[in-house]
Symmetry: D2
Subunit: 347 residues, 4 copies
Amino acid sequence: MREKAIRVGLIGAGTIGRVHAMNIAGIREVELVAVADPVQLAANKIAAEVGIPNVFDDYQSLLKDERITCVLICSPPITHAMIVEEAANKGKHIFCEKPLALSLDEADKALASVEKAGVKLQVGYNRRFDPSFRRARELLQHGVIGNLHLVRITSRDPDIPNVEYLRTCGGLFFDTTSHDFDMMRYLTADEAEEIFAVGGELIDPKLRELGDIDTAVVLLRLRSGAFGIVENSRRAAYGYDQRVELFGSGGMIEVMNHLCDQTVLSNKDGRHLARNKWFFQERYRESFVNEIFSFFACIKEDKEPEVTGFDGRMAIAMAVAAKRSLIEHRPVSLTEVLGKVSKRGPE
Amino acid sequence: MREKAIRVGLIGAGTIGRVHAMNIAGIREVELVAVADPVQLAANKIAAEVGIPNVFDDYQSLLKDERITCVLICSPPITHAMIVEEAANKGKHIFCEKPLALSLDEADKALASVEKAGVKLQVGYNRRFDPSFRRARELLQHGVIGNLHLVRITSRDPDIPNVEYLRTCGGLFFDTTSHDFDMMRYLTADEAEEIFAVGGELIDPKLRELGDIDTAVVLLRLRSGAFGIVENSRRAAYGYDQRVELFGSGGMIEVMNHLCDQTVLSNKDGRHLARNKWFFQERYRESFVNEIFSFFACIKEDKEPEVTGFDGRMAIAMAVAAKRSLIEHRPVSLTEVLGKVSKRGPE
Amino acid sequence: MREKAIRVGLIGAGTIGRVHAMNIAGIREVELVAVADPVQLAANKIAAEVGIPNVFDDYQSLLKDERITCVLICSPPITHAMIVEEAANKGKHIFCEKPLALSLDEADKALASVEKAGVKLQVGYNRRFDPSFRRARELLQHGVIGNLHLVRITSRDPDIPNVEYLRTCGGLFFDTTSHDFDMMRYLTADEAEEIFAVGGELIDPKLRELGDIDTAVVLLRLRSGAFGIVENSRRAAYGYDQRVELFGSGGMIEVMNHLCDQTVLSNKDGRHLARNKWFFQERYRESFVNEIFSFFACIKEDKEPEVTGFDGRMAIAMAVAAKRSLIEHRPVSLTEVLGKVSKRGPE
Amino acid sequence: MREKAIRVGLIGAGTIGRVHAMNIAGIREVELVAVADPVQLAANKIAAEVGIPNVFDDYQSLLKDERITCVLICSPPITHAMIVEEAANKGKHIFCEKPLALSLDEADKALASVEKAGVKLQVGYNRRFDPSFRRARELLQHGVIGNLHLVRITSRDPDIPNVEYLRTCGGLFFDTTSHDFDMMRYLTADEAEEIFAVGGELIDPKLRELGDIDTAVVLLRLRSGAFGIVENSRRAAYGYDQRVELFGSGGMIEVMNHLCDQTVLSNKDGRHLARNKWFFQERYRESFVNEIFSFFACIKEDKEPEVTGFDGRMAIAMAVAAKRSLIEHRPVSLTEVLGKVSKRGPE
C-alpha cells in the first residue's frame, strides 16, 4: 500500500467526530491514523468502525505524533481555542469544529498562533458547502433578486441536547446560532452592524439554571442597510428545520427543508408529505463530505480555506453581541464588541 | 327597473341548474324569468332562493313563453337532444349541459334544428373556462413544450352518484369522461384517431346491473401521433381529482389540484396539506361563472360560442368509440364511428 | 320590489369602497342606496357600475339621509375616527375600514360615541375571514401544535402606493402593519406586551420626506411569553406575499401564498409555478365577501361583530408602540402606550 | 491487510459497472479484485480510479480466476444470459444487471444453470431499494389506501442513448420499461394478466431503422382487477422523470420526483424550483448503494436475494407481451406468452 499524502489525527470521538471519520474513509489520498478522546470507549469504537490504527486518551499525545500533519478538532467547544493553539504550535494543519472559541480573546490568541505557524485553519461551518445554500448565494450575488432587503434564517434542532452537551457548548448563541451567524455572512457577503436578541426558556425551564435559553429571535442590521432575522429553537417536533429566505428589490430566494422521502399520501384528511430529515447527519450529509474534501484540497493545493479563522472570529463577535443584547435588552452594535468593525478578510 | 337585454328560462332545477341560476343572478343585463322542472319542490326552491318569478312543471310550457329568448338545458342527459331540438324550433338561444346527446343520430338531429333556426348553441364544457387549463392550452399552443407527445387527464369524482342519476346520465363515458374527451380536444386542438378503453366495477359491483362501470382508463392516439390517457374513477377518497399533464419534446405542463386552503401542518408524522376541493361546485366555481358570461356575451355580440355543437358532437363520437372498445376489447378508430373523421369546425 | 331590510350608504368611492360595493350587490337583503365622495367622478362611476341611486359629494349629506341605517366608511384613514363619531351620533351602524383612527385619543372619542349610540361597529380587518387563517387559528386554539413559541407574519404588498395615498394612510404601521398586528392578536388570542421595531426606506428614499418607511421588521413579545415577528415591505416583485407561521412545542402551522393558477411548467431550467395573486382584491376576494356578510348578519341578528372597536383600538396601540420604538430605537412596552395593558374585550 | 470475505469480479466497465465499482469501494468486507471489458481503455480507467488490481479483456479469463467467488454482470444486455450461465457453471454468485435476458428461452437456460449450481443470483432492479418506492409499497401493503384500482408509473429518461447502446439494449421494453414492469410487480405484489402497448418514434425517426421506439404507453390489467399504466419516453427535457401513483379505494400514494436542490426563486414570472435530478446516477444514488449491500448480505447470510431470477424472468415475459401487443396492435395476455401464468415465486 502506497503512502497516502495526508496523515490525519482526529481529536474528539463524539457524534461530529464520527461524521468526519466516516467521510475521510472515502477519500483515497487521506489516511486517518489516530484518534484521541478521554472517553476511551468512544475512541475505540470509532477506531474499530473506521479502521484507525492508533488510539489515544489525550490529545496532547496525538499532537506529539510527528507523522500526523493535520488534525480535526471535534472536542467540546470550550476546548477548541486551546487545542487550535497547541496544534498550530506543533505545525499541524487544523480543521476545527465551530465555534472557534467562546470569547474573542481566546480566538485572537489561537489565530495568532495559526498565523505564526503558517498552517491552514478551516472552521467547521459545513452549511456553506450545502448545494442549496450555495446556489442561493450565487443567485443573490449575481443580482437575480436585486438589492437585498431582508435575510431570514430559520434554524431549529429536532430536540434539546443532553445536559453534558449543554454545559460545554457555550450556550445557544455559540452553539446553534453560530451556524446562522456564519450563514448570514456567507449568503450576504456582508457584515452585521447591530444586533438585537430576545430569547427564553420556552421548552425547558431548567435551561435557566445553566444560564442558557432554548428559543431565540435575533434581529440584525447589516452594513448594506438590509435587515436579518435568525429564528432558533432547540426542539422542532417535526424534525430539523433549516430554511433561508432572501428578500430583495427584484424577488425572493428561498431554501426549503429536505424531506425524508418523496412519498405523498392523499386521503380524506388531506395531502400528507414526509417529515423533515431528522437532524444534521441526514440533512447535511452532502455538505459534510464537501467540506472535508475542500479542506484537504486546500492543504494539497496550498490555498486559503473556504472558511477562515476570520470567519470563525466574526461568528464569535456576533454571539458576544447577541448575548449582551439579550442580557441588557437593547440593540448592541458590533463596533462595541470589536472595537471597530473590522474589514472583511484577515488583517 | 329597466328591461334587461336577455330573458332566460332554466330547464332543470338540479345541482347544475342551481349553479347556473346563482351565477346568472350576478349578471346585470340578464334576467332569469322562469324555471321548469317536473319536481316542483326543486323548481320552487331555486325560484325562491334566486328570485325567479315563473315556475313551470314542464319544459314545454316554458318554451312557449315568447318573452324568453334563451334557455339553459340542465335536465338529465337523456332529454338533452330532444329539448335542444324543440328549443331551437322555438327560436331560443341554447346553453345545453353536457353531453349534447347520448347518440350521434340524436345529436345530428338536434344540430340540424339549431343550424336551421340560426340560434346560438353552447355546450356545457365549463372546464374550458378554467384559468389553469386555459393557461396550459396557451403554453402548449405557443410551443413552450415543443411537439406534444403525451396528454394525460386524471379525472376522478369524490363519490359515486345515486342510482337515479346513474340511470339517466348515459354511463361513465357520456357523463364523466365526456368532459375529459372535450378537454383532450381543447388542450391539443387535435382530434382522436383511435381509442382503446378498459374499465370495470372496482368500487361498486352493482354498477354492472346498470350496464355501467365506475373505473376506466382510456388510451387514445391523436392525429398528430401524440398519445392520450384518460384516467377515471367515480370515487376518490381525497376529493375531486382534476389534473392534466402535457408532455412534449421541450418539457412538460401540469395542472395540479386545488386544495381547500393553503394551511400546512408539520408534526412528527410529516407535513400535512389540506384536502382537494371536494367537487365541481368548489373546484370549478370560476369556470362556471366565466362559461355563462361567455355564453351571454356571444348572444349579445352575435359571436360563435367557445364550445360549439360540433364540439358536443365530437365528445359523443369519442364516448361511442370508447364504449365499443370496452365491449369488444379492441382499439376502435374514430372513422369507424363517424364514417370518416370530420375536419375540425362545423362543416 | 320589496323593501330590503338594510339600507346602506357607502362613504368613499376608492378601491376598497368599490370592493365592498360589488360584494354587497350580491346580498339580497341589503340595498346600497347612496355613495358619497368628494371626487364626483369616482362616486358616479361606482354608482353606475353597481346601480346606486343616490350620489353625494360630501359624507355629511349622506349621513343626513334618515332612510340609511348603516354606513361603510371607506374614506382615507385620517378621516375614519371623525366619520365614525358623526355616523354614530346619527344612529347608523358602522363598518369602518382599518385603521379605526390614527391615534388612541381619536379612537377613544369615536368609541365613546359608538357606545353611547348603541350602534354596531365592525373594523375592516378582513383577513380574519380568510379560510386559511381561520383554519390556522382553529388548529392552534385546539392545541394541535401545543404551546405557541413563535408567530411570524410575512406581509408584503406588490408595489408602493402613490404619494396621495401615502400622505393620508397614516404611515406603514397604521396602514399595512395594522392588518398584521390584528392578525397576531386574532391568531394567538393573546396581546403584545412589548414591541421592538426597525425599518427604513430601502425601496424609495423619497419616503423619508413623508416621514414614512417602506420596509420594516417588528419583533414582539406576547403575554404568553411567545415571540412574534412581522415582516413588511411595500414592494414584493413577485406579487402579494401573505404568509403566516405558527411554531409551537408540538409542531408548526403555516399559511402559504395563493398562486394565480395551478399550472406548472417543467423545462431544462427547472419547475416553474405561477406567480402569487397580485394584490388583496385577488388574494382576499373570499374574505371580503365573508367579512361583509358577517357584518350584516350581526346587524340583523343583533350580535357583537367579529372585529370590535376594542380590536380596532388595540391595533392602534400597537402601531403607536412600533412607531415610538422605531424612532427611539428601543423596545417599547404596551403599558407605556396604554397606561396599563387592558384586558381583552371591551371594558 | 486481512483477507476480505468476498472477492468480486466486475464484468463490463461501462456507466453502470462504474456505479457499482464505486459503491463496492465503500464496503469494508468486499474486495473488487478484477474487471473485464473488451474495451481495455474503459477497464483500465475504472481499475485506476477504484484501485482494482487485475484487468482482463475478456470475461472468460475473469471467470477462470478461482479466487473470485462472485461476479457483477454489467455488460450489454444481449450478453447477460450467456454470462450468467457460464458464471453459474463456474460456481460464482451472480449480480446481473437488468434485463436478465432478451428472451424467455435464454432466461430459462440461464436460470436452470443457476439452480443447478446453487449460487445466488440477484437481478439489478435497483429501484426496489429506493426509500420512496419502498415506503409507497409498505403503505399500500398495509392497506393505507384500501384496494388498489390503478398504478401509474411515469418513467422518462433525460435523453436518448447513443446508437451503440440502442443496438445492444434489446429495445425500449427490455431496457427502460423493464424497470417499470418490475416496479409494477414490486409495488403491487401482483402479476400482470394482460398487456396492451402503443408506441412510436416521436423523438427520433431514426429509431425505426433499429426496429425500436422512443415513446410508449403500456396499459396493463393485473390479476386483482386493478389497472396499470406505464408511460415511457427516451427524452424528458427537464431531466429524469420517475414518478409513481397508486390509486385505491381509500386514497392515493404518490412518489414525486427528486429535484437538484431545494432552492426556490420567486420573481414577477412566478415561482421557480430546481430541475429534476438529471439521470439515474443522481436520482438512484441511494438505491444503488442499498442494492449492492443487500446482495452481499444475502451471500454472507445465505439468504434469498430481494430480486430473484423469477423476478428477472417475469419482467422479460412482460416485455415480450408488450412487444407482441405493439406489433399486432391488440391486447396480449400473459398466458399466451408464458404458457400458463406461473404462480409467484420460483417453482
